[in-house]
């Protein structure tokens, strides 16, 4: 089946203006900071029996007030949602159309609960990418699939002789789904899985990959773990992020009482443990801690507890949609005026979804920011925009890490395409590669050495310190 366009039309006894004014209440709960060309917008769609449905992440591409709106989106699949309102003698004709590409149809089939057969095997090397197209983490995964496709394109354009292709899985921010999707990628012929998912999901992927002798690589920030021969964890570590950010944060703000807010899963716990030790070393106190399950919705009570604690610093280890909700609540309830927040998973996509005004002043610490002025990065950003257009999600540490990881792995795999996963993992540790985030080398044999950059969210993006 090739891509299709679905259309629904209905004549209503309301004026086009009235229908348009209220689209936030009926068009799949459309949510946006401002109805303006270029702004992010989300739609929440009930589907496949899932209690919370799924979220379409898009950007407003065109708008004619009271007449039409066009939303271009990249998750869970690439497509366009168009709404057109035509005046009738009495009322209006409402036309809604959505295009769904093959990847979208496949995603919907699996989400409905129907197992899909593995794609036909490719002639060359097939890379598995496990990303987060749905669930809380979908906010920060925007752009990872694009970055992976760019890397695959560049490998094929380099013409090393072996054709590369990409099979994409969606963990749904859920370890159980991550395991199922990892099995699907392996059945499709992937001998490497690059995972840009939360740590809990990666643990599930790792178990599946080891059972099948497949190399599993965690490309995004993580807390580390027990070394394993066929597993690589390449992303930023909380200790490095905190080491880079805490001292300048305390010096710039004069803050010394920190409230830690995070999740109940492993990465967040680990980051909090490291933070408590570093804060004590720097002579700062912990004003309190809050730990919430992934997917928690109402952060107003947490913000109120922080205010009452007298904290002048906040460390957030919340991820994805949870981080969006927390930072919006912090802004709305005035916490910004009494405390400065350092967020360890605030990337460009998450900042956009929080909103420019609502996120302004929040500190971040990552190995990569799209605003990095290096010539390698500027060329990377230009290639990304040329390939995916002005409406593509912003690049961030989470997406760039996928791009760099694939190129890093290719260097190692090219020498011995038929080696075992263990041998590939050993070979990767010998690679040195110039990437958009800088020169990657393996410092301690477990992860690469990379510089953590500190930045503050502003009205137009991140300002690097």
């Amino acid at each position: 089946m090739s891509g299709i366009v679905l259309t629904a039309t209905r004549d209503v006894a309301l004026t086009p203006e009235a229908v348009f004014e209220t689209l936030g209440s009926w068009l799949f709960g459309a949510s946006f900071e401002r109805l303006e060309v270029g702004r992010p917008l989300t739609l929440t769609v009930p589907f496949g029996g899932a209690a919370s449905g799924f979220t379409i992440f898009g950007r407003i591409r065109r708008i004619v007030w009271g007449q039409s709106i066009v939303i271009e989106h990249s998750q869970p699949w690439r497509g366009t949602v168009r709404l057109r309102l035509t005046p009738l003698p009495i009322g209006a004709r409402v036309t809604l159309s959505c295009d769904v590409d093959d990847a979208g149809v496949g995603w919907m089939v699996r989400r409905t609960g129907i197992p899909s057969s593995a794609p036909e095997s490719a002639r060359g090397r097939r890379w598995g990418l496990l990303t987060t197209k749905s669930g809380s983490g979908a906010v920060f995964a925007l752009g990872t699939e694009n970055a992976a496709l760019l890397a695959i394109d560049e490998l094929n354009a380099a013409g090393a002789g072996m054709e590369n292709d990409l099979v994409v899985g969606d963990d749904g921010t859920d370890p159980a789904m991550a395991a199922v999707e990892a099995e699907r990628l392996i059945a499709a012929g992937c001998r490497v899985i690059v995972a840009a998912v939360i740590s809990a999901s990666f643990t599930a992927v790792q178990q599946v990959a080891q059972r099948h002798g497949v190399l599993a690589v965690h490309s995004v920030l993580n807390e580390g773990g027990r070394p394993a021969r066929s597993v690589l964890r390449l992303g930023e570590r909380p200790a490095d992020q905190l080491r880079a950010a805490l001292t300048p944060l305390m010096r710039e703000t004069g803050g010394s009482r920190c409230y830690i807010v995070g999740h109940t899963y492993s990465w967040s716990r680990s980051a909090a443990r490291v933070a408590r030790g570093m804060l004590a070393d720097l002579g700062a106190g912990v004003a309190g801690e809050a730990r919430l399950p992934l997917g928690h919705h109402d952060y107003a009570p947490v913000v109120e507890r922080i205010r009452r604690s007298g904290a002048d610093l906040v460390l957030s280890t919340l991820v994805g949609d949870d981080e969006v909700r927390f930072e919006r609540s912090s802004h709305e309830l005035g916490l910004r005026s009494t405390a400065t927040t350092l967020s360890l998973v605030l990337d460009e996509s998450t900042r956009e979804h929080i909103g420019a005004e609502q996120s302004a002043g929040v500190w971040a610490a990552m190995g990569y920011f799209e605003a990095s002025p290096s010539s390698v990065n500027q060329a990377f950003v230009a290639r990304y925009r040329a390939r995916f257009g002005a409406w593509a999600p912003p690049l961030s540490s989470l997406s760039e890490s996928v791009y760099s990881t694939i190129l890093l792995l290719e260097r190692a795999l090219a020498d011995d395409p038929d080696a075992t996963a263990d041998a590939w993992a050993r070979a990767v540790r010998q690679v040195r590669l110039e990437t958009p985030r800088g020169l990657l080398t393996f410092g301690d044999g477990e992860t690469y050495a990379s510089t953590i950059r500190v930045a503050i969210a502003g009205q137009t993006g991140f300002h690097l310190l």
Binding site: T22, S25, F28, F47
Partner: protein
């Protein structure tokens, strides 16, 4: 086929096991499926296959006296797409059925955004 019959089909763990088996093994006879799924006899498998066929998830191919079953990818895709289309229609019904009309203009995100802009 409709969404209800599909979800009814998926409500049985045996039928989910059959679909998972077919997704990785191409086509198979009822006997082969029964052998692969423990504690389910051939007669029961045939009954489950009939339900899966009627909901459009599985297709049947005859070769002489043998019947082979496989995952109907086109059928599964059409089911999912059809379900999404029904959600779109529901959304448009909501636009008229009062949600749009009763929502105060001043409380809608759209109008807030327009004033802010």
């Amino acid at each position: 086929m409709d969404a209800d019959s599909v979800f009814d089909s998926l409500s049985s763990s045996v039928r989910r096991d059959i679909l998972t088996f077919l997704s990785t093994h191409g086509d198979a006879s009822a006997g082969e499926i029964a052998d692969a799924i423990s504690d389910v006899g051939r007669t029961a498998v045939s009954t489950h296959l009939r339900i899966l066929r009627s909901s459009g998830l599985v297709s049947e191919r005859r070769a002489g006296r043998q019947r082979f079953y496989s995952l109907d990818r086109e059928g599964s895709a059409m089911i999912a797409v059809g379900y999404f289309q029904s959600l779109m229609r529901n959304a448009l019904e909501d636009a008229e059925s009062g949600k749009a009309a009763v929502t105060p203009v001043s409380a809608s995100p759209a109008s807030r955004a327009r004033r802010a802009g």
